[in-house]
């Protein structure tokens, strides 16, 4: 049981890092990106092929460098960012909203099928494997996993500090201004493409880092282990926690991964229909998204509102700050403004 929980928590921690990256791209800069799971997968593949030795026939993959783990993760992140730079340059320059999303969706499926079918790259659908205890600690199987959970938590904490710092900086505010109204941002001298592009690359880098961690956790990776559609679980996590708030995103990731993805494994499947359990899990995640959008659209910990520090901060506030209901009320100019303004929140 302890091992089981270690595994779940490690996964939730790693996916929190990934969610932080996706939240930068979507929550902050407003680009509904669907290719982030490819950056994550690329991070996993690259980390594995750079840390295990040369491929032995019939297995084939590139590199096989035997690099130290941390160096391999670093290089993997750089490769992922370079890759995102290409996709982002195409998708972000002139495309917005749904057109941007469609382009990134096309990109992720292209990558998925390419990786699955072109064996010299990552051994096709058989995938790459053989990564265990990359930091050479010589621990037992169980001890290694306890240790690695701690390692991931430290990585998540560092990623959180970095993201939080950016979120509260003038840069974080500017990116959100670009998200809220591109034209107005341009009028005030902001280069919209550059703002979104920088954020995109940073988010992709975090996805690559999450991939690097996942590589050491799972040890082997093939195209059955990931699918582009899994990104919706992460979007559900961001919605639950609070789009645009790093704390909320981490909370949401743990809730969704521990609470939903793992707990729903206990849903009994009749022997004749073994696919029922996993299918129900998807249904429950869909239901979760709908319920959150209906009752608390800004998430459990909504995006922090930049104030001048004269008002008390609250972690929790009663009213959905970004709800459609509030927005439509507030836009009704006949209403006296003092009654429609929701309470400020943390």
């Amino acid at each position: 049981m302890l091992q089981y929980w270690t595994a779940i928590l490690t996964e939730a921690t790693i996916f929190s890092v990934l969610a932080l990256g996706i939240d930068m791209i979507w929550g902050w800069s407003g680009s509904f990106d669907l290719s982030a799971y490819a950056y994550f997968a690329l991070g996993v593949y690259m980390t594995i092929v750079m840390t295990v030795g040369k491929a032995k026939s019939p297995t084939e993959f590139i590199l096989g460098w035997h690099l130290p783990y941390l160096l391999a993760v670093g290089i993997a992140v750089i490769v992922v960012v370079a890759f995102a730079a290409i996709i982002g340059a195409v998708a972000l320059r002139n495309l917005r909203d749904i057109y941007f999303s469609i382009t990134t969706l096309g990109a992720v499926w292209a990558i998925y099928y390419f990786v699955e079918n072109y064996t010299p790259l990552f051994n096709g659908y058989n995938g790459v494997y053989g990564l265990f205890d990359p930091m050479g600690l010589g621990l037992s199987y169980n001890a290694y996993h306890y240790y690695f959970l701690g390692f991931c938590l430290v990585a998540l904490f560092l990623a959180y500090l970095l993201v939080m710092r950016l979120s509260r900086s003038p840069y974080g505010r500017m990116v959100r201004a670009v998200r809220d109204d591109e034209f107005a941002a341009e009028v005030y001298g902001r280069n919209v493409f550059w703002a979104k592009y920088r954020t995109y690359l940073f988010g992709a880098g975090l996805a690559g880092l999450a991939g690097g961690l996942f590589a050491a956790y799972i040890g082997a990776f093939n195209s059955l282990d990931w699918a582009p559609t899994e990104i919706f679980v992460l979007y559900a996590a961001i919605l639950v926690g609070g789009r645009g708030n790093p704390r909320g995103v981490i909370l949401g990731s743990f809730i969704v991964y521990v609470g939903f993805v793992e707990m729903t494994r206990y849903i009994p499947s009749p022997a004749a229909r073994p696919e029922l359990g996993p299918a129900l899990r998807q249904v429950m995640i869909g239901l979760l998204i709908i319920l959150m959008l209906k009752f608390r659209p800004s998430g459990l910990i909504p995006e922090r509102l930049g104030t001048d520090g004269t008002e008390p901060r609250r972690l929790w506030h009663r009213w959905p700050a970004r709800g459609l209901a509030v927005a439509s009320l507030a836009q009704d100019e006949s209403m006296p403004s003092s009654t429609t303004i929701p309470e400020s929140e943390s």
């Binding site: 900086s169 009028v187 104030t307």
Partner: protein, 257 residues
């Protein structure tokens, strides 16, 4: 009043799929003046604003701002030279607080680099804290003091107009182009907006006002440019244009105001 030419349009033309919006349009705006840009609906006023601010690219002609060509520049590049425009409806950053809206209007762009945000976070925070007093003064001046820490989306329509002026005042532009600042505005607020325009002028900004409300133009502008059918048909002080036959035919004659 200086006689320096700040903005010079020459032979500007633009068609949208065969519909001529702006045709051989030329005008000069002198520094330190408040200029009204008027004309009947469809005269091409808003298209000229889009062409000048870089949101549309002219088919031909040139736009010189302080002697430098603007045609071919992106809107953000043009803005960084000191030109701020508004749109017909207020465009606030809805999920930013009111004070942050003004802060982004004011904030210096070099603070927004990624590496600075990561490595000099504390210094940036200090710099920003130093601005807060000035921003709060602006908030108070535009009657936004009580709502400064609210989300901008929650403001009323009139407050959004005032926020727009607070943001412009914070940005301290050399040229401000206001596209119908009086749209949907009540008379009391209208007076407030007239004052805001005069304040922009005294703060050193040249102002171009696109507006249909002629009494408002008369009371706030030093000079008026009249457009019809995509081109400038007259330019001069309001009183002189009252008797100009082309202007009367094109616009004033059909106007019951």
């Amino acid at each position: 009043m200086s006689t320096n030419v700040l903005l010079e349009l020459e032979g500007l033309s633009k068609s949208f799929g065969g519909v001529v919006a702006v045709k051989d349009c030329s005008m000069t705006i002198r520094e330190g003046t408040v200029v009204g840009l008027i004309g009947p609906n469809g005269a091409g006023k808003s298209s000229v604003v889009d062409l000048v601010s870089g949101f549309e690219r002219p088919d031909s002609g040139s736009v010189k701002f302080d002697g430098r060509e603007l045609v071919g520049r992106r809107p953000d590049q043009i803005s960084r030279r000191g030109l701020i425009r508004t749109f017909q409806s207020p465009r606030e950053w809805r999920d930013l607080s009111v004070i942050d809206n003004v802060r982004v209007g004011r904030s210096e762009l070099q603070r927004e680099t990624l590496w600075r945000s990561v490595f000099f976070a504390r210094r940036l925070r200090r710099e920003e804290a130093a601005d807060t007093a000035e921003l709060r003064e602006l908030m108070a001046h535009y009657n936004l003091e009580g709502v400064r820490n609210r989300r901008a989306v929650a403001l009323s329509g009139g407050q959004k107009r005032l926020l727009e002026f607070a943001r412009i005042a914070a940005a301290k532009p050399r040229l401000t182009i206001l596209d119908e600042p009086m749209g949907g505005v009540n008379p009391v607020l209208g007076e407030r907006i007239g004052n805001a325009i005069r304040e922009l002028k005294s703060a050193g900004s040249t102002v171009v006002v696109v507006e249909h409300n002629l009494p408002f133009i008369e009371s706030t502008c030093d000079e008026v440019v009249v457009m019809d059918l995509g081109t400038v048909i007259a330019q001069g002080p309001f009183e002189e244009l009252r008797d100009n036959k082309r202007v009367v035919d094109a616009y004033l004659g059909n106007d019951d105001e």
